[in-house]
């Protein structure tokens, strides 16, 4: 491996893509509702990593990617709070966290 050149942009992009795909897989396949929320956080982090990489490599002077990343972090915090509150009230009403049994509105 070449240790002399700086890290290319594509390395960060591939890392973020891998993190996003792991998050999508976990989102589809989790039975526990808390793990679904964790997978959503993984996907948001992947998007943030992309924004930061572009901000550093392409937009080095006006770092607009970092500003957007901060907004994404804010929205993610709000989403985590509301999501966990919904999860708690759901658990209180159905006494389970199994995603397969949250099917009241399905058919």
């Amino acid at each position: 491996m070449d240790f002399s050149s700086p890290i290319p942009l594509q390395a960060f992009l591939i890392l973020a893509a891998l993190l996003f795909c792991i998050g999508v897989w976990g989102l589809i396949n989790s039975r526990n509702a808390v793990r679904v929320l964790m997978s959503i956080e993984l996907m948001l982090n992947a998007v943030n990593l992309n924004l930061m990489a572009f901000s550093n490599y392409v937009d080095g002077q006006l770092i607009r990617g970092q500003v957007f990343a901060i907004f994404v972090i804010t929205v993610a915090a709000a989403e985590a709070a509301v999501g966990l509150a919904i999860l708690l009230s759901l658990y209180r009403n159905r006494e389970t966290v199994d995603m397969e049994r949250f099917n009241l509105l399905r058919w």
Binding site: S4, S5, P6, I7, A11, F12, I14, L15, A17, L19, F20, C21, I22, V24, W25, G26, I28, N29, S30, R31, N32, A33, R35, L37, M38, S39, E41, L42, M52, A53, N56, Y57, V58, D59, G60, Q61, L62, I63, R64, A69, I70, F71, I73, T74, V75, A77, A78, A80, A81, V82, L84, A85, L87, S89, Y91, R92, N93, R94, T96, D98
Partner: protein, 204 residues
């Protein structure tokens, strides 16, 4: 070959290995408490990658918000809902896992192809490095002022909404006996509304 770039490469390799292994652990481990702690590790390694990308302010915000708030919130939620339940097995679970794995692999290959075939406008302007915090502040109070204020309104709405959603139904005084009830400590035994009960026999 400079020492700085070598250190950068080694840091990137270590952080990305931690990131990938940690996120695989978050998704795959059967014990959800381990998953939550590994999620904290994933957030910390993402903060380290932000430091490699010359963004110290966002790295600090990541540690404060994600590790300090979101991860702790998830741990509290796990403690509140962590009832041992044996999940009923559903048919075609393996098919679903394989199919979604194939879809995710396809998405990953597509994203790799996009990353390598797109002509990024590189090299861009030189990074401003540690001036980034000042520049973020200028952005927030000039051209991104409206989203900044809207974000504060959003946080307020999320806080009130979370309190309203997660609040327990505790009456200040008991409806039946009339005795005052302690607001914070007693949760009334109430029948959950939406549980599937066994069908009661119809009385004619």
């Amino acid at each position: 070959m400079t020492i700085a770039s070598t250190t950068e490469q080694i840091c990137f390799l270590v952080l990305s290995a931690t990131l990938v292994l940690g996120s695989l652990g978050v998704v795959l481990l059967p014990n959800i408490v381990y998953s939550a702690f590994l999620l904290g590790g994933v957030f910390l390694s993402v903060a380290g990658l932000y430091l490699l990308l010359n963004a110290s302010f966002v790295a600090a915000a990541q540690v404060l918000v994600y590790v300090g708030a979101v991860n702790v919130l998830i741990l509290f939620a796990i403690m509140l809902v962590n009832k041992k339940e044996d999940l009923s097995s559903i048919p075609s679970l393996l098919t679903r896992r394989l199919l979604s794995g194939a879809v995710c692999l396809g998405l990953f290959i597509l994203l790799i192809r996009v990353a390598f075939t797109t002509a990024w406008p590189l090299p861009g302007p030189a990074s401003i490095g540690e001036e980034a915090t000042v520049r973020i502040g200028e952005h927030f109070f000039s051209d991104y002022l409206l989203p900044f204020e809207l974000a504060s309104v959003l946080l307020l709405m999320a806080m009130i909404g979370a309190i309203v959603l997660a609040r327990r139904d505790v009456f200040a005084s008991d409806v039946i006996t009339g005795e005052p009830a302690d607001q914070g400590l007693i949760e009334k035994a109430r029948t959950p509304l939406l549980i599937e009960r066994p069908k009661q026999s119809q009385t004619p």
